[in-house]
Amino acid sequence: MVSVCLYMHVHQPIRLKNFKIFDIGKEKNYFDDAKNKMYLERIIKKSYLPTNKILLDLIHKTDGKFKVSFSITGTLLEQLREYPKALESFQKIVDTGCCNLVSESYYHSLASVFSSEEFKMQIKHQEKTLYDIFKVRTKIFRNTELVYQNEIGKLVSEMGYKGILAEGWDKVLGWRNPCFVYKGKNSNIKVLLKQYKLSDDLAFRFSERTWKSWPLTADKFAGWISNYNGNGNLVNLFIDYETFGEHQWKETGIFEFLKHFPFKIFEKGDDFVTPTEAINRYNSVSEIDFPNVVSWADSERDLSAWLGNKMQKTASSKLYSLKRDILQYGDEKLIDDWRKLQTSDHFYYMCTKWFSDGDVHKYFNPYKTPYDAFITYMNILSDLTLRLEYIKKIKNNYMNKQFLEPVEAGKEFYTKNGITIASMEELANVIKTFDDETFFHHVNEERNDFANWARDVIGDFVLANRMKRVRKQATLSKIVSARVAELSFL
């Protein structure tokens, strides 16, 4: 008997708005809410709702013998909050117990490549989100774009994961085939390897009329799977969820295929498993060594589609160079924005690999060229950097809104001509009204009473420093007003 492990990756990024260089320092929202909404509503209608209905039916009709598993990114779950019906359609499937949820990084990021500390935080964020929404804790992990190497297996194994999904790449497998459970090197994690040929038959070739096996029927496909009897336990079909209804449109017959496929599997005496069942049912046959990073993308199976060119390298290194300061000084919103910029799709849009051939990866790509993607991204990153610098200044007591508040009673400034000044703003207003006698009484070669008051009573060293050597009334007034404006801007 061969077991089919059907795993579907469900993801939508939160796309960026056309952020111009002139918006830096002015515009606060980075995300194109309207566009994201448009894409999401389309995908819900074309893919999520019809597919989930079929999956749920299949589970009922087969008395729970049909199994499926999902990884649903945090960036998608966040957007689905506005669409309870769609979210519910996933929950219902998870609630049957026939569906495994697979964990990953909340932001669908490539953090595993840049910072294991950041990577772990995003996994924990995802775990919490999955629990909040689905009341489920999972022991299976998949990394963004199926990026895997030994260290990643070790890291997630230390976080308590028992199984991980990876690409069944020939160069790693050598003579072995992906239809067994393997053990990761340097850890005890069990590795489930994607059967990429069969997975791609479904995900990419299904509607390809020039393909010799077109049309692909459920019976034919179940037959190919059954051929692994005697040469494997497990056929891992790892695909993008959007294969159903979006990559392969309804008109291609993909839904009909899905409706019949499980029954054809059972007819041939095979069955379905979730990843958890797979690792419980089968022992690992041997250790598998992934010394280098392997992804599920392109013929190279590497990261070149995300981090291959100069723009991608610049953008990613700039992004991650902010890590320490963002985590130290950033507020929740800033950290969240920074993490949303880590979503791998942003880097994918900058890919130039196929662009010269006019063969852009057009699928839901909001940009005309990879260069446009880069500009938008960098402008946003520049704005984020500005925000970070600002917050740093505040936290380092450079900016403190409290400086604007009235001083304690009894600590007001009493001028020679009998005016009482209780706040910086009042000082700004009053200072320009003084006659020469009053002004030079307080500001002269020996002293600057106003600067001292700003320093000792208000506590604003910045303002005091700016004021202390100034002897001109108009200039001094300007300095105080400017400082008021600066602090009010916060």
Binding site: K20, I21, F22, T314, T352, F355, S356, D372, F374, M378
Partner: protein, 393 residues
């Protein structure tokens, strides 16, 4: 296949050139002769014609017609150029000058032996039609611009009629881009099967130009005639927005044209007289220098049938922002596109490209790879096939 003999009504050869048409005639003829095609070329020349002696091969014979015509003339600019002395020799207005050219052209054509007639742009169309009438040979009209591109809407009916008559009498029309093909179909009611697209190209030997002048200020370049359809005013308005944001960026408007004085005034009115430099018309050597000093090329044309200068910029490792209304973007993917009127977006791109240096590095490398497939040699093959197809009609 018997080599074709072509009678071509072309335009001035370098170094006596004012724009793309001369280059096209030169490089295309050169590439065609490599295929064994013989070309009898008839070109208008003003004054002495000794500048034509730099022939690439003996498969080309040249006859010149002494005329005031240059390919981008309008009635207004014709009058502007015509001096009193010249009025005695040349036609008193553009119309007269064209009939003079046509008459002389047909006379010269009668002395030639050819299989196909190939004309470049409207001023030569009537000569082509008349030549077809007496010789019975097929006529190919090569469209580099239409009246709709040049006039920005204010179309001259006299020119339009010549173009329309030409298109209806031609056996084949060659458009320099799909953009132009569509314009011909829309505006002249021509059957689309009659039109073939052959994009312009560039003489590119792959040699990297590394002697960039290092300078403190970044230079953004406009290079082309300063005419309305090239959108020079949009360039200046974008320059205004850019220089307000970053004062270390300088704009250079290279080229001559009837709108030059107006543009100088506009720049001064906007208060960027010191940020925007005008060069006037450039010689070949100066063109090289201007490319060497530029960091970015902008072509904000209102309507640009092709835009060879973008390829030249790319071959000089300069990234480009190109108008959406242009043909060149059909062959060069690795450039920016923008709407010519969207000066905010142009300014945004100018600033971003100059700020984030990895764009330039990535773009010029990828554009370079594309240029290798954009050669006159493979354009000549396409055109030669068109010659063969019409001579077998």
């Amino acid at each position: 296949m018997v080599p074709t003999k072509v009678l071509m009504f072309g335009w001035e050869f370098p170094p006596y050139s004012v724009g793309g048409l001369g280059k096209v005639t030169y490089y295309l003829s050169n590439a065609l002769t490599k295929l064994g095609t013989k070309i009898s070329l008839i070109v208008p020349i003003k004054g002495e014609s000794d500048k034509l002696k730099i022939l690439p091969t003996n498969l080309i014979t040249i006859k010149s017609i002494n005329t005031m015509l240059s390919p981008y003339l309008t009635e207004k600019s014709y009058q502007y150029l015509l001096s009193e002395e010249e009025a005695k020799i040349y036609g008193g207005n553009l119309k007269e000058e064209i009939s003079r050219f046509t008459e002389r052209g047909v006379e010269l054509a009668k002395e030639e032996d050819f299989d196909v007639i190939h004309c470049h742009d409207w001023m030569t169309f009537t000569a082509g039609i008349k030549t077809k009438e007496f010789s019975g040979k097929p006529l190919i009209l090569h469209v580099h611009t239409t009246e709709f591109d040049r006039s920005c809407g204010g179309c001259n009916p006299y020119v339009y009629n010549i173009e329309a008559e030409g298109f209806s009498k031609a056996d084949k029309i060659i458009a320099v881009s799909n953009y132009t093909k569509n314009k011909i179909i829309e505006n002249y009611d021509v059957d689309e099967n009659k039109i073939e697209v052959v994009h312009n190209a560039i003489e590119f030997n792959g040699g990297a130009n590394n002697n960039k002048i290092h300078q403190r200020k970044k230079v953004v370049l406009y290079f082309g005639r300063i005419s309305m359809h090239k959108g020079p005013d949009y360039f200046i308005r974008a320059a205004k927005k850019v220089t307000e944001y970053d004062k270390n960026i300088v704009f250079v408007m290279a080229g001559g044209g009837e709108l030059l004085p107006e543009m100088v005034n506009l720049a001064c009115d906007l208060g960027i007289g010191d940020k925007l430099l005008f060069t006037g018309r450039l010689k070949d050597e100066e063109v090289k220098n201007i490319y060497n000093s530029a960091d970015l090329y902008v072509m904000p044309s209102v309507s640009e049938p092709f835009g060879i200068t973008v390829l030249e910029a790319a071959s000089n490792r300069i990234p480009a922002i190109v108008s959406n209304n242009s043909g060149v973007k059909e062959v060069l993917n690795n450039c920016f596109t923008a709407d010519f009127w969207d000066t905010d977006e142009i300014a945004n791109k100018v600033l971003s490209i100059l700020k984030y240096s990895s764009i330039k590095e990535e773009m010029v490398d990828n554009a370079y790879k594309e240029l290798k497939n954009i050669s006159w040699d493979n354009r000549a093959v396409k055109i030669n096939n068109i010659y063969n197809s019409v001579s077998n009609l």
